[in-house]
């Protein structure tokens, strides 16, 4: 019975099957509508199933004996069903039950045989026929008057079912999901556009993530994912390296730091080239920690005059190849872009760290000529120095003692900060080590964007940074990148190392290459830069949320020394064993918070706000409704007041009566429910009410018909009823408290 079913593929067979099904259908209809009308053709699906279940189709060529047996089985089954039906007392429901049994058989076949059923027209016809018969029976069984809906309707459904091709595979929702995603993306872009163009209106006062050229206060910020920059690069977004612990080849994403508000700095280029020249670094060595690359930057939903440039930038050109000086007078518009050429350093490379740790051994800058440096630059890195800086700028660099500006300013720094700065860097031999020690120390602090509001400091001045740092280091013990960066800047300055606060983006490229990469406002970041004498500005990552330079190192090693044994590297540069004193903050127990707790608190805060708002809104609505009623009552004339009093009285009577009382607008309906002691008086008031409603005023100006005494009487009665209600049904008094005046 459950053998595989042959699939009809040849055209003649298919036509034959169509004719077969129609013949069956005609037979079913005929049976239904005439001779066996009372039986509702119950046994026909069973007969069809019997044909269908046999090993092979009835009309295909095969063993006659087998066919005969199948036909006999079908006939017996049909007869049994007919017999049972004839003897059954409740034919309608039995009919339905038999049909359900047929359905169950077919469902079992589907799950039992599975895919072999698919593709046969006979199978489809059987399923479709069973469906319409089941629907017909279901309709008859559940119908209000048990009458049969015209079977012609179900035949029409069957015709459509036979025409529509069924699928072998489940529904493919991918196109729909993709379309929904596209729609969601467009909606998001539209929302960002609106937000971008409304930015000038200065709507709202809360801070959210994103680049800002203004001073930051360190107050709480809210997450935002608006696309602010679009990056294009020819580089791979990942690099491979051998993990030292496991020995396996690993893949890591590249990160890029984009600095805001600074133009290409030639003195930085001279510093770097001179340092490498002085350390006798050749092209092969340099490639271990340095690469020259470029990045196309386009502004999206960002409004600033600043140029957002990758760290180590040496040249910026616009779309026509002209140099960009970075002195914009107006905010850049959406679509503004440029190409930045920059030197990408691996500050975590032990080879570079070795250079950074020994800049003191460098000869004087004046000992090298522009020509010598140009030749070194070109021969070693292919950089034609004259393209980026001329000799005059070179001379200026030679004459300059160090970075200009107040990078050592420590105004406002507290005594405990000074003590801490000394404590952290105790035992460090050089500036770079001190920087790493401070970085390591700060990374112990908890990251949190929920820092409250009204912070004392800001990043706009040294005093502001001092206050912000002091609060972060000793009071709250938690913060986000702004707090870490300002604290490190101040601690470095207190150690005599020039340092500056940098604001921009930290973008981590995805694993897969794309045409362009969206830098969202959530990537906005602040970090410190320290001036390492002899090398220039070097960035650090004290924010505990992100990896340090060492942790995201390229891990490159010379080809002839894969183990890196010959590299003159200080061991402490690799694993960052900088001694870091434990963090001590005044309210550390509360201050060292986890993002999860922050999230929970934020949710609780929102829940409380919503609850309070809803309660307040409800209170205001009720209070407003009462106020409106009182005002209306007071402003009304005697007639109007009496009408309102009567309305209240009827409401009270309805509430007091035990029986459901519909308001038909007839006061006589209420009379049976009136309290005995007020019966006469209330009837009098009702009479006055009818007098107001139906009296005809000759002048048509609505002159009053109620006297002062009558009005007074109605009011007193209404209040008496109200008191009565309060005494009897105090539990529900709040419902009718609206009536109080």
């Amino acid at each position: 019975m459950s053998g595989p079913v042959k699939v009809f593929v040849s055209l003649p067979d298919k036509i034959k099957n169509i004719l077969t099904v129609f013949a069956f259908l005609a037979a079913v209809s005929k049976v239904y509508s005439s001779y066996f009308a009372k039986m509702h053709a119950t046994y026909n699906p069973a007969a069809i199933i019997a044909f269908y279940l046999r090993n092979g189709t009835f009309f295909s060529r095969g063993d006659m004996y087998e066919k005969g047996l199948s036909a006999a089985v079908a006939a017996v089954l049909a007869f049994v069903l007919w017999f049972v039906f004839e003897k059954a007392p409740d034919k309608l429901h039995l009919n339905f039950v038999l049909c359900l049994i047929s359905d169950a058989i077919m469902v079992s076949i589907y799950f039992g045989i599975g895919g072999t059923v698919t593709g046969t027209f006979t199978g489809k016809a059987v399923y479709a026929l069973l469906f319409i018969l089941s629907a017909d029976h279901l309709r008859a069984a559940l119908g209000r008057n048990k009458s049969r809906y015209p079977f012609a309707f179900f035949i029409a459904v069957l015709a459509f079912l036979l025409i529509i091709p069924s699928r072998k595979d489940p529904i493919n929702w991918k196109p729909v999901v993709n379309a929904a995603k596209r729609m969601a993306e467009r909606t998001r872009e539209a929302a960002h556009s609106v937000s971008y163009y409304l930015e000038d209106l200065k709507v709202g006062s809360s801070y959210q993530t994103g680049y800002s050229s203004l001073a930051q206060t360190g107050d709480s910020i809210f997450y935002s994912d608006r696309t602010e920059l679009l990056l294009k690069t020819i580089d791979n977004t990942t690099f491979n390296y051998i993990d030292e612990e496991s020995g396996k080849e690993m893949r890591r994403r590249r990160a890029v730091y984009l600095t805001g508000g600074r133009a290409a700095d030639n003195s930085q280029l001279f510093d770097i080239l001179f340092s490498l020249y002085a350390h006798d670094v050749d092209a092969a060595q340099a490639s271990l920690f340095l690469r020259r690359t470029r990045l196309d930057v386009t502004y999206v939903y960002l409004r600033t005059k600043d140029e957002i440039l990758p760290e180590g930038v040496i040249k910026v050109t616009d779309g026509r190849g002209l140099k960009v000086d970075g002195n914009a007078l107006k905010n850049h518009r959406k679509g503004y872009g440029y190409r930045a050429e920059y030197l990408d350093f691996d500050y975590g490379s032990p080879y570079l760290i070795n250079i950074l740790e020994s800049p003191m051994d460098l000869p004087e800058k004046g000992s090298i000529s522009y020509k010598t440096l140009s030749m070194y630059s070109y021969n070693t890195y292919g950089i034609n120095l004259s393209e980026y800086a001329d000799e005059e700028e070179f001379k200026k660099w030679q004459e300059a003692a160090g970075p200009e500006g107040g990078y050592l300013d420590t105004a406002g720094a507290s005594g405990r900060m000074k003590e801490l700065a000394v404590k952290i860097t105790a035992g460090c031999e050089n500036d770079y080590d001190k920087c790493r020690a401070v970085e390591t120390y700060l990374r112990q602090y908890a990251y949190s964007t929920d820092t409250g509001t009204g912070t004392a400091g800001d990043t706009g001045s040294t005093e502001g940074m001092s206050k912000l740092s002091d609060s972060f280091l000793f009071e709250t013990g938690k913060g986000y990148c702004v707090h870490y960066a300002t604290a490190m800047v101040m601690l470095l300055r207190l150690n005599g190392i020039p340092a500056r606060y940098t604001n921009g983006y930290r973008y981590l490229f995805p694993f897969d290459r794309q045409d362009s990469y969206e830098v969202s406002s959530a990537c906005a970041h602040a970090w410190p830069e320290a001036y390492i004498k002899g090398f220039g500005w070097v960035s650090f990552e004290p924010t505990s949320l992100y990896l340090t330079a060492s942790e995201r190192s390229w891990n490159r090693k010379p080809a002839d020394d894969p183990a890196g044994a010959a590299v003159p590297v200080s061991a402490n540069n690799i694993k960052a064993p900088y001694p870091a004193p434990a963090v001590t903050v005044s309210d550390a127990g509360e201050g060292i918070d986890t993002p999860d707790k922050d999230d929970l608190k934020e949710k609780l805060r929102i829940a409380v706000i919503i609850t309070v708002s809803v309660v307040l809104a409800a209170v205001l609505m009720i209070a407003g409704a009462i106020a409106v009623r009182i005002i209306r009552y007071r402003r009304a004339d005697h007639d109007g007041r009496l009408i309102m009093d009567v309305s209240d009285m009827t409401a009270l009577i309805r509430a007091m009566s035990q029986m459901p009382l519909a308001d038909r607008g007839l006061l006589s309906d209420y009379e049976p429910y009136l309290p005995e002691k007020y019966l006469k008086e209330i009837k009098e008031v009702f009479d006055i009410y009818y007098r107001i409603r139906y009296s005809c005023h000759g002048d048509g100006k609505g002159s009053e018909t109620v006297t002062l005494n009558e009005g007074q009487k109605a009011r007193e009665l209404r209040n008496a009823l109200y008191r009565e209600y309060r005494v009897n049904k105090g539990g529900n008094i709040w419902i009718l408290s609206l009536l109080s005046r």
Binding site: V107, V117, A128, A152, I164, S166, R167
Partner: protein, 356 residues
């Protein structure tokens, strides 16, 4: 055509459809897709089926009388013919039961019609209001097999009846007041005045034949009557200012007002006619018409006009009537009592205003 969905049925349908979609999303093959398509097709196929039912359905309805009188039962003939291949199942008959009472058929009663078959119904109908409006079968409702959707069609051939108002004593109360004020009705002596001489004037409809001076009429080639020796010192003019509501806005409220207005008008005129008191009636019968009614003989013509439907042929005519009413209210002569019956009451005024 309007489509209404049954909330409960629709929810069950949507749940079933969702279940089928989920089934077909995880399993391929015949069973899930036949189920899905089957459930999905139920509503559209039902709709097509209903549209075809309606397309091949002919409905005709008529009354056994030409003119309908309010409150009297008439026989309504309704015939249905299914000219299509598909049977019509339990078609709901929605009647104008807000304005008519029916006997022999209930509102929302259902009938089924087999293909190429006819069904005839002959219910009794009683019109509740005077005026011109549609009566009988209002619309037809078709429901799908599972009662999820009901499609209602307006009957293609609706029957518009002219229902004559009834003469009652509805106006007596107002006219009694008029009588008390002006003392011109039958309850008080009619003030008359002696007219000296034998003055002639043109014949007006309503003048008694005996007043015609045949000699003078023959000479002048127009009917001329003697001015009676005694003239009523006061005349009564009834001005019927009907509203001018477009047909599409004639709701039940309008029908009730119109019914009251017509009944009041014919009753008021009958009040005078049966007493032989001449009354001038000004009313819109397309254009503004003025007619004198003073007897049983002259009343039927007026009643016929009123029953045929009072209306304005244009908005200008309505404006003219309104202007006329305002003029007659303010500047009537001392010998005339004007009873102004306004279908649309003016602010601060009643339905009937007596001025004089």
């Amino acid at each position: 055509m309007s489509i209404r969905f049954d909330l409960k049925g629709s929810i069950v349908y949507v749940l079933l459809l969702t279940a089928c979609i989920v089934f077909a999303s995880f399993f391929g093959g015949l069973l899930p897709f036949v189920l899905l398509y089957g459930i999905l097709l139920l509503l559209p196929v039902s709709f097509i089926y209903i549209i075809l039912n309606y397309h091949y359905l002919s409905v005709f309805q008529e009354l056994n009388v030409h003119r309908v009188v309010k409150g009297e039962e008439h026989k309504l003939y309704i015939s249905f013919e299914n000219r299509g291949l598909l049977p019509i199942h339990e078609m709901e008959l929605i009647l104008h039961s807000d304005r008519c009472s029916f006997s022999g058929i209930g509102d929302n009663e259902s009938i089924s019609i087999e293909p190429w078959n006819k069904v005839k119904l002959t219910p009794g109908v009683v019109c509740r209001y005077g005026g011109t409006y549609e009566i009988g079968l209002k619309s037809l409702g078709f429901t799908d097999a599972f009662g999820m959707m009901k499609v209602v069609f307006k009957v293609p051939y609706s029957f518009r009846a002219i229902v004559s108002p009834k003469v009652t004593d509805i106006a007596n109360e107002y006219l009694d007041i008029e009588n008390i004020i002006n003392s011109t009705g039958s309850k008080s002596t009619i003030r008359r005045e002696e007219i000296p001489g034998n003055e002639m004037r043109d014949y007006y409809p309503g003048d008694p034949l005996k007043a015609v001076n045949w000699k003078v009429s023959a000479r002048l080639s127009k009917l001329t009557v003697r001015i009676p020796d005694k003239l009523d010192t006061r005349t009564v003019t009834l001005i019927l200012e009907a509203s001018n509501v477009p047909e599409r806005m004639q709701d039940m409220e309008y029908l009730r007002r119109r019914d009251y207005f017509l009944e009041f008008a014919v009753s008021a005129v009958w009040y005078f006619a049966r007493r032989g008191i001449p009354v001038y009636v000004i009313y819109p019968a397309g254009k503004i018409t003025e007619r004198q009614v003073d007897s049983y003989d002259s009343f039927p013509q007026f009643y016929s006009d009123i029953s045929g439907g009072i209306a304005y042929r244009s908005d200008d005519e309505k404006d003219r009537m309104h202007k006329l009413v305002q003029e007659r209210r303010q500047a009537g002569d001392g010998n005339e009592t004007r009873v102004i019956i306004t279908e649309d009451e003016w602010p601060g005024e009643g339905f009937c205003v007596v001025a004089g």
